[in-house]
Amino acid sequence: MSQVHYLTTPLTDEDIMNLKAGDIVYLSGTIFTARDAAHKRLVDLIENKEELPFQLDGAVIYFVGPTPPKPGEPIGSAGPTTSYRMDSYSPTLIKHGLKGMIGKGKRNQAVKDACKEYKAVYFGATGGAGALLGKLIKEAKVIAYEELGPEAIRMLKVENFPVTVINDAYGRDLYEEGRKQYEVKD
């Protein structure tokens, strides 16, 4: 049966081990945005043993490229983007302390294995709910790669940001389990 958790970042190993595929989590605190281009740069920095623009230990990365904010607002619409484009980069970040990723859509086996080996989870947020999710972001600040526009790294402050555990640190996958339950075989 799915459980509801209220968690504040940074996440600890204990937080992670309490989460199971299908659980609902309301996240608060600081999270960081990054898409393909920013991921590539982060992994390059790690490989060159250079300093990252934010502390990766316990961090949560949100795969999102928001719309421009209207005057007086911190951010525009901000729902998740499809995660598989980050699959080739995520295991390196997880190995270096990343605890959570928020996106939508399937991850590959290497990401699932890294979640299991280094205690991390992949959260799904509701794709196409950008207006609703953007409202839950209280502050946003570009902290690196401003020239990437929507793909720049932003530091976000969120309050009770609703996500669902898709891949947990036990190797379970909600997409596979949920689908099996409702699939009608001929």
Partner: protein, 283 residues
């Protein structure tokens, strides 16, 4: 010859672009509500609730429904007794697109396909638009528009089947595409299927199928029956809203059929996410 001014086209397109980004059309909203009523999975029902709430927030607070405000795609029917003054029709549509995306605080999502550099300062903000033309009788210009997101385009596929594979081959191919797509295109989805024609005709037909009012059957009863069969087959996959498992994966299947070469059976599947933002204006 009736004359239509370039500036009037720019303005009409701009207003349509801004309105569509924050107002989910009635047909899509109705389909989402139906799915919410029918869905058996509590997890998927919760997702559908979020989507209905999102549509309400977007409409009342004028926030874009989704951060992926799409590439602008148009199907334009140009009456042959119309003359555009002060510039070309293509330029006017592009200009209206650019102004709408800037003034509506929408995202510039076009980039160079190799360098991936954003083209907003090179070609224009979220330009170029993708425009398909048809010349028709009359003295009007009808512009149909969709803001087409990337996630659902990424799972779309085309294949040329052997004629012997027939309608069952088409069903198998569409099932394969939607099954493989799983959670990625933001289900519940609308599936556009273009059958026949040439390779590119099938693809364009599958795109145009998505411009139809959601759930409105093809006027050809045999094709309408085929749509029903596909809808039933696809919902058996169990993918559900956002792929978390459920009974309501596909809101509607729209099939467009074309005559084709005796040697081929082209099929194209174009997927539309639940945020089916489309609109039209006649000038």
């Amino acid at each position: 010859m009736r004359e239509i001014a370039y500036d009037d086209i720019v303005k009409a397109v701009k207003n349509m672009v801004i309105h569509t980004a924050t107002n989910l059309p009635e047909d899509a909203l109705k389909k989402l509500k139906e799915a919410h009523e029918k869905e058996k999975s509590p997890v998927a029902r919760k997702v559908l609730e979020q989507l209905l709430e999102n549509a309400e927030i977007a409409r009342t607070e004028k926030r874009p429904l989704c951060q992926d405000t799409g590439l602008a795609v148009y199907f334009v029917k140009v009456g042959q007794d119309v003359h555009v003054t002060g510039g070309t029709l293509t330029d006017a549509i592009n200009k209206g697109t650019e102004e709408g995306y800037i003034e509506g605080y929408l995202r510039a999502s076009t980039c160079d396909c190799f360098t991936r550099a954003n083209l907003k300062d090179v070609i224009g903000y979220n330009l170029p638009a993708v425009i398909h033309y048809d010349i028709v009788e009359g003295d009007k210009i009808e512009i149909e528009y969709a803001a087409k997101g990337g996630g659902s385009e990424n799972v779309s596929r085309a294949r040329v089947l052997a004629p012997a594979q027939g309608p069952q081959g088409v069903i198998d191919f569409v099932k394969e595409v939607i099954s493989e797509a799983g959670p990625n295109p933001c289900p519940p989805i609308i599936v556009g299927v273009g059958i026949g024609g040439t390779f590119e005709k099938a693809a364009i037909s599958s795109k145009y199928a998505l411009f139809r009012e959601a759930g409105k059957p093809n006027p050809d009863p045999a094709v309408a029956e085929f749509e029903k069969e596909l809808l039933y087959e696809l919902n058996k996959l169990g993918i559900g809203a956002m792929g978390m498992g459920g009974t309501e994966t596909v809101l509607a299947v729209h099939v467009e059929k074309n005559p084709c070469h005796i040697a081929s059976l082209p099929v194209s599947v174009n997927v539309q996410c639940h945020s089916s933002r489309h609109n039209h204006v006649t000038l």
